[in-house]
Subunit: 302 residues, 2 copies
């Protein structure tokens, strides 16, 4: 039996990064993920992989990191621990921005955290941000997530789907970021799940990611688009920037804790736009999308 | 003698808004500031004026607001007051984004706040964000600010200049937003200044703004620019977005306190770009600008 050490988890997560990059390069058929190794002064480092100007993807980042070091007082207070002095964190974090406005933006993150007092947890999520919401794609996306969740716990999908609705939300716009997905945090063993189960769940999500996105890339990138649709994409990307910089906990924690800025902000699109008070025309496809940027839509039951 | 009531201050600030819009329209010679009146459910409202697609200015916003209402517990805790129940706040807030990368971005804010326990204060600032730093423009800008400051207090300029260096700073980039300017907050009467003095200082800044920016617009908009310089402008605007969404207190307070989103985010540029780990070539004009995005540069003494 393989021990689920932090080193083992980190090395398996790094393999997930590699698998995802290979699978996405294959579908893109032009872009290549460049590699940037970096180290962190206080301990550990990472491998940032970025594709620019692909066939289907304009800008895509797949970041792996495994960092460790002493916990400062702010961190201890924040985590409400007194008996831990060192932490270890590893994860894979992905954001992909396509050229074609009919291909959705996608995000995935799987992560593992432990402290030297023996406490650990897993966190993660996947969410989809179509510039134009296509209900059948959202249904497919959620059905795939549900299928993987259901293998581990029938409560996972409804619980984590709601968590994503609440997390990927932009209060100042009263809009969800996209069609949601799943989000989970602070998962550790309990009466129903071993550490192995939760780890396996994160790996299953990592394996699911390229399958889902390859399909959405391939199918939607064939569609033609107008300059007006491209403009709408830039506006929707503006909302993505707003979410990431104003609310996203990972982004803000990274920026405030002296993380590697270029790896954190690789989630931002290459190009985004803001127009004062621009509203889509009633009845337009843009207005239809706005109407679906709401919490609580049950995509799977449809 | 005119009493400095909140109503008087608000009405004079609104005149400043009007004067600035008229002066800037004249220099732009094409763009017009559209008007959007809005009201706030809890009390008060504002007038947002926005120019889009001007000759010199691509996107410019001049916002006036005068809002009031009950203070909630979070506000009281934040301000460390127990004996106040209602607040009043008025101000003018400006951000202008030009078409030509050789014209700098500018920001100004003057504001007044009071509570029903009799406490009040003034705050504000002006700062300049050139895409390409031109030392003689930065010197002119700071000399004009110093001249106005010196009329009120010889300590104002050095104190408020340092405050701006510290405030308009992007820690995760280790860069200042631009060449700084002045920033002040919580100014109220003391042994050396009456309320009238501080109010007069804010009005003097409001009058100075169009003089300074008219000159910088007129002189620099004649310069030609290349597509590469335009691209650099989009990247520098990306930093402006990062500052405003991650750090700017006014923006974050507004977004978190259910302010009028479109008026708050009119500060964002029409178009911004992010490229992974893009660094200017050593010795280039872009690299020269990066070298000047530092705290503590004494522009006036030069």
């Amino acid at each position: 039996m393989i021990m689920l050490t932090k080193e083992f988890i980190a090395s398996e997560y790094q393999k997930i990064q590699q698998e995802i990059c290979e699978a996405i390069e294959k579908v893109d058929a032009k872009g290549r993920f460049e590699s940037d190794h970096w180290t962190r002064e206080e301990g550990g480092g990472g491998l940032t992989r970025v594709m620019a100007n692909g066939n289907i993807l304009e800008k895509a980042g797949v970041n792996f990191s495994a960092v460790h070091g002493p916990m400062n007082e702010a961190m201890k207070t924040n985590l409400k621990v007194k008996d831990a002095h060192n932490f270890f964190a590893t994860g894979v974090s992905i954001v992909m921005h396509p050229n074609n406005p009919h291909v959705p933006i996608i995000h995935m993150n799987i992560r593992y955290f432990e402290m030297d007092n023996g406490t650990y947890w897993f966190g993660g999520g996947i969410d989809l941000t179509p510039h134009y919401i296509v209900p059948k794609d959202a249904e497919y996306f959620h059905a795939e997530l549900k299928q993987v969740c259901d293998k581990f716990d029938p409560d996972y999908y409804p619980r984590f789907k709601k968590w994503a609705d609440d997390y990927f939300f932009i209060p100042h716009r009263d809009e969800t970021r996209g069609v949601g997905g799943i989000f989970y945090d602070h998962l550790s063993e309990d009466e129903n799940h071993t550490k192995q189960d939760i780890y396996d769940f994160s790996i299953a999500l990592g394996k699911l990611f390229p399958k889902i996105y390859a399909k959405l890339m391939a199918e939607n990138s064939r569609k033609t688009f107008t300059p007006e649709e491209k403009e709408w994409q830039f506006i929707r990307r503006g909302r993505y920037v707003e979410f990431n910089l104003v609310y996203d906990r990972g982004t803000r924690f990274g920026l405030y804790s002296n993380g590697r800025t270029e790896s954190i902000l690789m989630s931002l699109p290459q190009e985004a736009k803001w127009f004062y008070n621009r509203r889509p025309e009633p009845g337009s496809r843009e207005a239809e999308t706005m109407n679906l940027l709401k919490k609580g839509i049950n995509w799977v039951a449809k």
